[in-house]
C-alpha cells in the first residue's frame, strides 16, 4: 500500500473475516476510522462488533483481511503490538486488578527494569490524570472504586500508553445517565485534542448524540456506513435489524390482573461482598400481569433474582407466593410453591456436559425416579415431547453446551413452563439472542400472561420492558424508586429514576 503514513486514516480494516468453528463472526468487513472522530460501531448483540474490535486489539487473529494503522499495513498479533501502534481498548469487563492501586494498574506493563519507583509513578499518573482531565486518586485501590471511576482508570490507562485510537466496548452499559454525560464530555474533549474513538454500542440515541460516523454491523457483515449528521435513528434501526421488525406486542386484551400472586415485603439482602444490595424492597405482582423491573446493570437486579430463585438469603423481609411464605425457601420449595425461574445467564445455569434430556428434568429429578432409581423411559418421553413442542433443534443425548443461545434459552424456558408455574421470575430473557429467538421468547412470556401467570420481568433492556410490561418498577442502588403504569410511563422520567433522581 502506498498511502502516506502521515495522511492515512487512523485505522482502516479491509475484508476482515473471522470464523469460530462453523460460526462466521465477521464476514468481509471493511471499516475506516478517520483521525479525530468518534465513530460508532453499531449493531445488535452478536452482530460481530466485539469480535472485529478484538481483532483490531490483537486478541483474535483474522482469518482473512488486512489492517492499516495511520496508513501503514499492520499485523497485530497481540495487545502488546496493538498498544505499540497506539491502540487502546476498554472492554465491558474491565481489565483491572482489584487488589492493586490505580497507579499499579496503570503502569502495569509500562515499566522496565526491576525496581519500581512508586512515588514517581504516582506522580506520573497524577499528571496524566490532570492532563486528560480525569479525576482519580492514584493511590486508591481499584476494589474501592465505583464502576464509573474504574472506567475512568481504564481510559486513563490507555491514554497513559499514548493511545491515539481508543476502543470503547459498550461503555455506557454500566453507567447511570449522569456518568454517561461525564464520559461523553471527556470523549469530546479528547477527540478535539487529537484522539480517535471507536464507540461500540447498540443504543441508538447515544450513537446519535456522541458520534461523527456510524458503521452498522448485522450478522457479521457491514450493513451500512454513514455520517451521523446525515442519518436518523429510524434509518439506523432499519440497518441494524434488517427488516421492519414485527415485534411481539402485548395483546389487545388489556390485562385483567387477578389476585396478588407474588408479594415481596421490605426485603433486605446482601451481595457477595456482604454489602447491602437490596434495601427494603417491596413489590407486588398480580396474576395475569407482567411487572417489569428496569434499572442500570448492577443495582440489585441480580441479587433480587437470586433471592426469588432460592439461591440467596434475605437478611430481613418476607416473600410470599399465593399467601404461602417462601422467605429464604430453597429452589425445591419455591418450585413446589409454583415459582418458575429463568436465570440471568442460562448458559451458566445448565449442566453443560450433561444431555439435553437430563437438563430438562434436573429440577424435578426426584419426580423422575423411584426409590432413587432413574425412570429413564419417563425422562426420555418427557424430553422428547418438549423438544418437539418447542421446536428445539437438538438431539436428546446432545450435551446441552453444544446448543446455540436461542435453542438453549428455549430448553430453559420449556423446562420452566412445562411445570405450569403460577409465578415467573425472569431475568434478562433475551440477552444475546438473535431477533427470531427474541421474538419467540417474548411471545411465550405474553402467552403465559394471558394464561394468568404473574411475571416479574427483570431486564436491562428498557425497550423490552416497555414492550412487555403492564407496570414498570425502577430499581436504583437496591431501592425501588417508583412503580408506574406502562401506559403512562415516560422514557425521560424512567431515565431519571434509573439515575436515582427522586424528585419530579
Amino acid at each position: 500500500m502506498t498511502a502516506n503514513p502521515s495522511t492515512g486514516p487512523a485505522v482502516e480494516m479491509r475484508g476482515i473475516t473471522k470464523r469460530f468453528g462453523s460460526v462466521l463472526a465477521n464476514s468481509g468487513i471493511d471499516f475506516k476510522l478517520d483521525r479525530q472522530e468518534i465513530h460508532a460501531l453499531l449493531g445488535e448483540n452478536g452482530a460481530g462488533k466485539t469480535t472485529l474490535m478484538r481483532i483490531l486489539f490483537g486478541l483474535y487473529q483474522a482469518d482473512e483481511g488486512e489492517i492499516f494503522v495511520r496508513g501503514e499495513s499492520a499485523t497485530i498479533r497481540s495487545p502488546k503490538e496493538a498498544i505499540a501502534r497506539g491502540i487502546g481498548m476498554v472492554s465491558q469487563h474491565f481489565a483491572l486488578v482489584p487488589t492493586l492501586t490505580v497507579t499499579e494498574n496503570i503502569i502495569l506493563g509500562t515499566t522496565s527494569g526491576l525496581p519500581l519507583r512508586m512515588e514517581q509513578a504516582h506522580e506520573r499518573v497524577a499528571n496524566a490524570a490532570k492532563q486528560f482531565n480525569m479525576a482519580v486518586d492514584p493511590a486508591a485501590r481499584v476494589q474501592d472504586l465505583s464502576v464509573g471511576q474504574r472506567q475512568r482508570v481504564e481510559i486513563l490507562k490507555a491514554l497513559y500508553r499514548q493511545a491515539k485510537v481508543l476502543i470503547l466496548d459498550e461503555p455506557t452499559a454500566v453507567l447511570i445517565p449522569q456518568e454517561v454525560d461525564l464520559l461523553f464530555e471527556s470523549l469530546r474533549k479528547l477527540r478535539d485534542n487529537g484522539l480517535s474513538v471507536i464507540f461500540i454500542s447498540h443504543k441508538l440515541h447515544e450513537v446519535m448524540s456522541i458520534t461523527d460516523h456510524v458503521t452498522v454491523l448485522r450478522g457479521g457483515a457491514v450493513a451500512g456506513a454513514v455520517q451521523t449528521s446525515s442519518t436518523n435513528p429510524k434509518e439506523l434501526a432499519r440497518m441494524m435489524v434488517g427488516h421492519a421488525a414485527a415485534r411481539a406486542r402485548k395483546s389487545e386484551a388489556t390485562a385483567s390482573p387477578g389476585q396478588a400472586a407474588l408479594v415481596i415485603d421490605r426485603v433486605n439482602a446482601e451481595d457477595n461482598k456482604g454489602l447491602p444490595a437490596l434495601k427494603d424492597i417491596s413489590l407486588t405482582v398480580k396474576a395475569g400481569e407482567i411487572l417489569g423491573l428496569a434499572g442500570v446493570s448492577g443495582n440489585g437486579q441480580t441479587e433480587l433474582a437470586e433471592v426469588l430463585s432460592g439461591i440467596r438469603q434475605v437478611s430481613s423481609g418476607r416473600v410470599t407466593v399465593n399467601d404461602r411464605d417462601v422467605t429464604n425457601a430453597d429452589p425445591q420449595a419455591l418450585m413446589a410453591a409454583g415459582v418458575g425461574r429463568i436465570p440471568e445467564d442460562s448458559r451458566a445455569n445448565v449442566i453443560g456436559q450433561m444431555s439435553v434430556a437430563q437438563n430438562i428434568v434436573i429440577e424435578h429429578i426426584d419426580d423422575y425416579s423411584r426409590n432413587g432409581l432413574l425412570d429413564r423411559k419417563g425422562i426420555t418421553q418427557h424430553a422428547r415431547e418438549i423438544i418437539s413442542e418447542y421446536q428445539i433443534k437438538t438431539g436428546l443425548e446432545d450435551h446441552i453446551r453444544t446448543l446455540s443461545g436461542g435453542n438453549l434459552q428455549k430448553v430453559v424456558l420449556a423446562r420452566v413452563l412445562s411445570g405450569s408455574p403460577r409465578v415467573l421470575i425472569i431475568a434478562q430473557p433475551t440477552r444475546g439472542l438473535d431477533v427470531a429467538a427474541t421474538e419467540y421468547v417474548r411471545g411465550k412470556l405474553l402467552e403465559q400472561r394471558e394464561e394468568g401467570a404473574a411475571i416479574l420481568l427483570i431486564s436491562e433492556d428498557l425497550d423490552e420492558i416497555l414492550q412487555l410490561s403492564d407496570r414498570i418498577a425502577v430499581i436504583y442502588e437496591g431501592q425501588i424508586m417508583d412503580v408506574v403504569d406502562a401506559e403512562k410511563a415516560e422514557i425521560d422520567r424512567l431515565g431519571l429514576l434509573m439515575a436515582g433522581v427522586v424528585h419530579e
Partner: protein
Amino acid sequence: MDIAQTGLFLAGLIAATLRVATPLIYGTIGEVYTERAGVLNLGIEGIMFLGAFVGFAVAFHAEEAGFAAYLWIGLLGAIIAGLVMGLLMAFFSVTLGANQHVSGLGITLLCTSLSLFGFRMVFGERAVLPSIDPFTQISIFKNIPYLGQVLNQYLLTYLAFLVVVPLSWWLLFRTTFGLQILAVGENPEAVDAAGLNVSRIRYSVLGLGGALMAVGGAFLSLGQLGAFSPGIIAGRGWVCIALVIFARWHPLRAALGALLFGGVFALQLRLQTMGFDLPFELFLALPYLVTILALALAGRQIAYPGAYLKPYKRE
C-alpha cells in the same frame, strides 16, 4: 537445670530451629511465588526430593572428579533440575491448562520415581549408603558464648533468612516483575490487556519457584546429611503447602511459620534425646493440625489470589 544449662539448651534449640526451618523457607518461598501467580504447585514434595537427589549425585561425581567446589556444582545441578520441573509444571498448568491438583501430584510422582530410579541407576545397590563431605557450618562466631552456638549455621541458612526472604519481599512488592506476578495471580485478563505475556510470567515464576524448592531439598542432602535416602524429604513439601496458607502468601510471615515449625520440631527432637517418652509423631503432625485449625478459624476470610487454580485462556 541451672542458668548455664538452660542457656545452652535454649541456644541449641534456637540453632536447631534455624536449621530445621531452612529447607522449609526455600520450599515455602518457592510456593509463595507460584501461588501468587495463580498456580498451586503440588509438585513441591517431589521437586524437593529431586533437588536432594540431583544435588547429591552431581556433587558426588564432582567430588570424585576432583572439583573443589563440588558442593556448589551439586547445588547448581539441583537448581537446574528444579527449574526444569517447574517449567514442566508450567507446561501442564499454563500451556495445556490442565487441572493443577492432578498435574502437581503427577510432577511429584514423576520426580520421586525418577530420583529413586536415578539413585539406583547411579549408585546401584550398596550395603553402605554413599556419602560426601557436606557443607560445613560457618563457625567464625564460635567463641561468643551461647550466641556463637546459635550463629553456627550453614551458609545456605544465612542465605535463606538474610537474602531469600527479604529479597522475595522486595521482589514481590517493590519491583516491576513483582507487580506482574501479583497481577497475573489476581486477574490475568488485565495482564494480557496490558500487552504482557501471561504465559511467560507464569513460566518464569514456576521456574523460579521450582529452583527454590530444589535448593530446599539439596540443603538436606548437601548440608545436613551429606547423603541421600528415600526418607529425606518425608513430607516437608506438604508442610510448605501448609505454611504458604498459614503465611497468607507473604514471604515474611512464611519465614515466621517456618521458624515456628522448626521450633516445634527441634523441641521434640531434644525432648526425645533427653529421654522423655513422648509420642513424637504427634509433634510432627502438629504443623499440619495447626494449619488445618488456622484454616478452620480464618475460614472464609482467607483471601486466595483471585486467579488461584484458574488457567488463563483468551475469549
